[in-house]
């Protein structure tokens, strides 16, 4: 595959991510922050996000497994997740978190469990998509091309 094709695929893929709402403008902002002095910035931040999110999701799963659910604790976890997802622009994860927090407010355990599943789903979706995006990026870099900038 030549660089041009890869770049085109990258652009299409990225716009599809924006289009599907997996990512939002913040991701673009993130990309803008990446420059020569900090070439791995996006990857770094997103990896951080993955680590952090997995930890939070584990915590959440555990917290919701308790007989008496500490909703305050759950809420603060979800808040964390919401903050980090909105920081990297993972829009759908963020939206799922917002719904989650509403149910936390209502102390609705069942709905919270449903939401957790939802968040997990969205998270793995975002993770997969971003992973493949990075793979694509690496391929482009490996092929000696420049990663194109794509806005939504």
């Amino acid at each position: 595959m030549d660089v041009g094709q890869l770049q085109r695929r990258f652009v299409e893929y990225t716009s599809s991510l924006f289009h599907e709402g997996v990512l939002d403008a913040q991701f673009t902002q993130l990309q803008q922050l990446q420059d020569e002095s900090n070439p791995e910035f996006v990857f770094e931040v997103v990896s951080l996000f993955f680590d952090d999110s997995e930890r939070i999701l584990n915590d959440l799963t555990r917290a919701l497994d308790q007989k008496i659910v500490d909703f305050k604790n759950v809420d603060s976890h979800v808040h964390q997740l919401k903050g980090s997802s909105s920081s990297i622009g993972a829009q759908r994860v963020k939206n799922a978190c917002i719904a989650f927090r509403n149910y936390c407010e209502e102390q609705n355990t069942e709905a919270c469990l449903r939401c957790l599943q939802q968040v997990k789903q969205e998270y793995s979706l975002a993770k997969n998509k971003l992973d493949s995006l990075f793979r694509l990026e690496q391929q482009i870099v490996a092929a000696g091309g420049a990663v194109p900038m794509v806005g939504c």
């Binding site: 913040q26 809420d75 964390q80 920081s87 927090r101 936390c104 407010e105």
Partner: protein, 998 residues
């Protein structure tokens, strides 16, 4: 979101609490009301009864008194008459003793006695008759009988049996002549009477009995007659011894009393009974029937003394009729009762009313609480909705900003720019919707910040440019040169008013123009006043235009306010230029901070306002008529808000409108001038720098309409372009051509010629080929003037034509804005970049210069957020440190430190941003105090004496309240999360502008 939910619940709880407050009644217990009323009625009935009793008792008393007096009167009279009769009988007795016994022979015989008594009978009305019986001892009976020639007979008219003593009647009145010769001693009663009488020497009475010869009850009165004079204090025996005979008379008591009563008034009313009560256990009736009708409840007894000490008599009086029911008492009592009842009912009614009012009041209170809650809910709803709208709008705006960064053609750029401006205006509008509640609550406070009036107007214009273009309207703005570039005031509110007025105009105008003018108020007023004086002359000319329907206005359409025609406008402009030139220096010197009142006109040629609706135009939710909202939409609140805002700005709003002609709204607003040099605020709205690359260029504007030409001139002049206005293309060429060829010293060599579409399309210039002219110019070795076509809208055929005529790509679409004109010129002249891009670059560069080398602290518990924020700051060259919690931040910020600024997340576990900031500020103020005491300069530090680390909040929540909270706890500003370049730039610029840029 969670916060909002909590707040909603809080409101609901408070509502319940307020509703749950126990009702407090002032003084009336409603359950007791009917009981109290019932008791009151009973009480009143009781009092009525008492009153009746008292009055009745009084009546009875009076009745009794009357009875007593009547009875006593009767008794006295009876007694008097009786004693008169007794006295007379006494006199008769004396007569008999004198003339029968003391004279010898007797001077009295039966005839004399009968005659005398008959003739003196009037003296004894009570006596039916009198008779004299002589005492005859048995021994003398024969002699007596012989002397008189008859035998003594008993009462039964039989010859008397033998007795010790007899008392035969010898003299008798004719009325009782039948008793002559009857022995009075033979009757039991009479005998006793006789014995008693001669023993006492006084008149004595018998028991009442049926009189002989009549059926009336009567008593017999007996008087002793003595033969000789009695010794003083005679004994009983002495009396008996000298007794000669007895004088007796029968009292017909019944007829007596009858007669007596007949003489008295009121005898009908009472019943009189007379009794002999000598034997008190068995009273003998003398008068009156024993059992008869009458009122037995009330009677009076009066004692009677008939002169016989042995016998006792009594008179009993009674009312014949029962006491009449006392109507007065009944009326009074019942009246009292009724009044009492009414009073009670009135009080009851009042109490019921009070209770009802109280109930209503409570209900109102509940409703009020509910309404307030609804109001709060409304505000929250607005906040939520605006927040929700803002989020996607931020996306739109961000994308547009990105789009503008890409390489675009000028048209595309303009479109994108317009879209961004509109988006920003929308965001502002959302804020304004939020503020509407504040206006209604009177809580709105105006800002006082410097702003560029002209760029605000340009923004408003761009907001409506698309709409006006599609409607084919001329939309233009003109700001007088006298109006300072930058004024102090509230740009948002000013924009809101203008937007509202222009929006209305655009909405209601289908043809013609909308023209916004800004002048100095005193100046405009002076001109308008002087103009209105001559208005009567001018007006007639304007109203009857000679050349078709052309008025000297922007579009040639008639306008509502005649004074706004070209004549006035010309005056405004010329005066201005004159004054401006002379007064610029003087104003520049004392331009520190003085008030300036602006007068803004928004003139349209729309449907106007119906006369009957004109007075309620400024009332909220009022539109001209109900069909208005159907046809044009809108709530009708805009003008009322505008009015409030204008009044807040210290001005007044008014309008002149003629239906089917148009409306002209004008308002004044007070601002303060502001020294241009002092303003080093890099905020965009203030320093909306127009490109200066066109300074010194010359332009010719070809327009037959002076007003429109003036507008074009105004925009070009803002770009520093010198402008000449001519009426037609030909004239333009003539001017330039002549100048160019003959006089090179003062030649007018336009760098560009701007042709109004109308002027170009009119028949005169249509045939003229511009390129021909170009050639001609070319031959004369001059730079070609660039040709531009100004148009509101162009049909495709006209566009073709324009291209053919040499206007390819040089059509400037109206409404004109200085920045847009600049963009077009730039595209044609190829000078520099667009202003916007420049600005962005400048912004980034500025940010970099601001942040480069600064030491920043980012405090956020979220690792990812922290990383992103740090990344963003690093991009601009800042040296970034991170802290994961408020506590960590505090330890890093132990004084002295070398951080230049701190970005603080608000929501953090353990210690939130507010708390952390508070502690930092406490720390700083302690340190500052110590420093102040010590008065020493810390060595080797260039920092200011006073510690004050700029702390900026990072929050996803951009509600105003959060911002207020930020400021309250000592933060200096806030940056909305996620980071945004422009946002960051604005927030940071405030703190570093005064510091030297490294």
């Amino acid at each position: 979101m969670g916060l909002k939910m909590k707040r909603n619940r809080y409101v609901a709880v408070r509502l319940n609490e307020q509703l749950g407050i126990k009702r407090k009644y002032t003084f009336i217990n409603r359950a007791w009301l009917p009981k109290i009323l019932f008791l009151w009625i009973i009480f009143m009935a009781f009092v009525g009864r008492v009153i009746y009793n008292r009055m009745d008792a009084e009546n009875k008393e009076r009745r009794n008194e009357v009875l007593v007096s009547m009875c006593d009167q009767r008794a006295r009279m009876l007694q008097d008459q009786f004693s008169v009769s007794v006295n007379h009988v006494h006199a008769l007795a004396v007569l008999v003793s004198t003339f029968h016994y003391y004279k010898n022979p007797s001077a009295i015989d039966q005839e004399t006695f009968a005659e005398y008594t008959a003739r003196t009978a009037f003296e004894r009305p009570l006596l039916s008759g009198v008779a004299y019986a002589e005492r005859v001892v048995n021994s003398k009976r024969e002699e007596f009988e012989r002397q008189h020639g008859w035998t003594i007979r008993t009462m039964e008219k039989e010859p008397s049996p033998l007795r010790d003593e007899y008392a035969p009647v010898i003299f008798s009145q004719e009325t009782v002549s039948y008793i002559e010769s009857l022995d009075m001693m033979s009757g039991e009663e009479d005998r006793e009477n006789i014995l008693r009488a001669r023993a006492t020497g006084k008149a004595v009475l018998t028991n009442p009995f049926k009189l002989l010869g009549s059926h009336h009850l009567g008593v017999v009165l007996t008087f002793p007659v003595y033969k000789s004079k009695l010794p003083p204090n005679p004994s009983e025996e002495e009396r008996i011894a000298v007794t000669a005979g007895y004088l007796g008379g029968a009292f017909d008591v019944e007829s007596l009393v009858e007669k007596l009563l007949g003489q008295l008034a009121g005898n009908q009313a009472i019943v009189v009974n007379v009794y002999d009560i000598t034997n008190s256990s068995d009273p003998l009736i003398m008068y009156g029937r024993q059992y008869q009708d009458g009122d037995f409840s009330l009677s009076h007894e009066s004692a009677l003394d008939f002169g016989d000490p042995f016998r006792k008599h009594q008179m009993i009086c009674r009312y014949l009729q029962k006491a009449p029911t006392s109507w007065t008492a009944i009326t009074t009592a019942s009246l009292f009762f009724v009044i009492g009842l009414l009073v009670g009912y009135m009080i009851y009614g009042a109490a019921i009313h009070i209770v009802k009012v109280e109930d209503d009041f409570h209900q109102m209170q509940q409703l009020k609480v509910r309404a307030e809650a609804a109001d709060v809910a409304k505000s929250q709803f607005l906040a939520t909705v605006s927040h929700e709208i803002r989020t996607p709008m931020n996306g739109v705006l961000g994308m547009l900003a990105l789009l503008l960064d890409t390489d675009l053609s000028s048209t595309q750029r303009d479109f994108a720019q317009t879209a961004q401006d509109c988006g920003k205006a929308l965001i502002n509008l959302i804020n304004e919707v939020l503020d509407r509640a504040k206006i209604e609550a009177g809580k709105l406070e105006l800002e006082a910040v410097p702003f560029n009036l002209r760029s605000i107007l340009d923004e408003v214009l761009s907001l409506f440019s698309e709409k006006s273009r599609s409607k084919g309207l001329e939309l233009a703005v003109y700001v007088s040169d006298k109006v300072p570039d930058i004024v102090m005031g509230d740009p948002g509110r000013f924009r809101q008013v203008i937007t509202n007025l222009v929006g209305n105009s655009v909405k209601f105008t289908e043809r013609g123009h909308i023209f916004v003018q800004v002048h100095l108020a005193e100046h405009a007023k002076a001109v308008l006043d002087s103009k209105s004086e001559t208005c009567s002359n001018v007006g007639s000319e304007v109203l009857v235009p000679s050349g078709g329907s052309q008025y000297k206005t922007l579009s040639g359409c008639e306008v509502a306010d005649d004074r706004n025609g070209w004549d006035t406008f010309k005056h405004l402009i010329t005066n201005e230029e004159f004054k401006y030139n002379t007064s610029t220096k003087s104003t520049a010197t004392d331009e520190t901070s003085q008030d300036v009142t602006l007068m803004v006109f928004v003139e349209d040629t729309g449907i106007g306002i119906p006369l009957r609706a004109q007075e309620r135009v400024f009332m909220p939710f009022m539109q001209a008529d109900s069909s208005t909202s159907r046809n044009y939409g809108g709530t009708g609140i805009g003008l009322s808000i505008s009015k409030c805002l204008v009044e807040l700005m210290g001005g007044r709003i008014s309008f002149v409108s003629r239906p089917q002609v148009g409306s002209t709204f004008s308002f004044t607003a007070a601002f303060r001038t502001c020294d241009k040099n002092a303003v080093v605020d890099p905020e965009k709205s203030v320093s909306d720098e127009l490109p200066v690359a066109y300074k010194g260029l010359k332009a010719t504007v070809v327009d037959e309409k002076p007003v429109r030409a003036a507008v074009t001139k105004y925009h070009l002049q803002r770009l520093g372009i010198m402008v000449e206005v001519v009426g037609s293309i030909k004239a333009a060429f003539i001017v330039s051509g002549q100048n160019g060829s003959t006089n090179s010293k003062c030649k007018w060599l336009p760098d560009m010629i701007l042709v109004e579409k109308d002027s170009w399309l009119t028949g005169e210039d249509d045939g003229l080929d511009i390129r021909k002219f170009d050639w001609k110019q070319n031959g004369q070795m001059f730079d070609l003037p660039k040709m531009f076509l100004l148009a509101t809208n162009l049909s495709s055929t006209n566009l073709e034509k324009a291209k053919a005529a040499g206007f390819s790509d040089t059509v400037i679409m109206k409404p004109l804005r200085a920045s847009m004109v600049a963009a077009c010129l730039q595209q044609f002249f190829g000078m520099g970049k667009t202003s916007q891009q420049e600005n962005m670059r400048k912004g980034s560069a500025f940010l970099r210069s601001l942040l480069c080398g600064k030491k920043m602290l980012v405090v956020d518990d979220n690792m990812v957020n922290r990383r992103v924020a740090a990344g963003a700051l690093k991009k601009f060259g800042a040296d970034v440190k991170c802290a994961a919690s408020g506590k960590a931040a505090l330890s890093l910020l132990e004084l002295p430190h070398d951080f230049d600024a701190c970005f603080m997340d608000i929501q953090m576990p353990e210690m939130d941003g507010f708390e952390a900031t508070r502690r930092i500020r406490v720390m700083e103020s302690k340190e500052n105090e110590q420093q102040g005491e010590g008065e020493c300069v810390i060595e080797g530090t260039t920092k200011k004496m006073q510690w004050h680390l700029p702390i900026l909040a990072m929050t996803a929540d951009v509600i105003h309240a959060t911002y207020d909270e930020c400021l309250r706890c000592g933060m200096d500003g806030y940056v909305s999360k996620p980071f945004d370049e422009e946002n960051l730039y604005q927030a940071v610029a405030k703190f570093f502008e005064s510091e030297p840029v490294n």
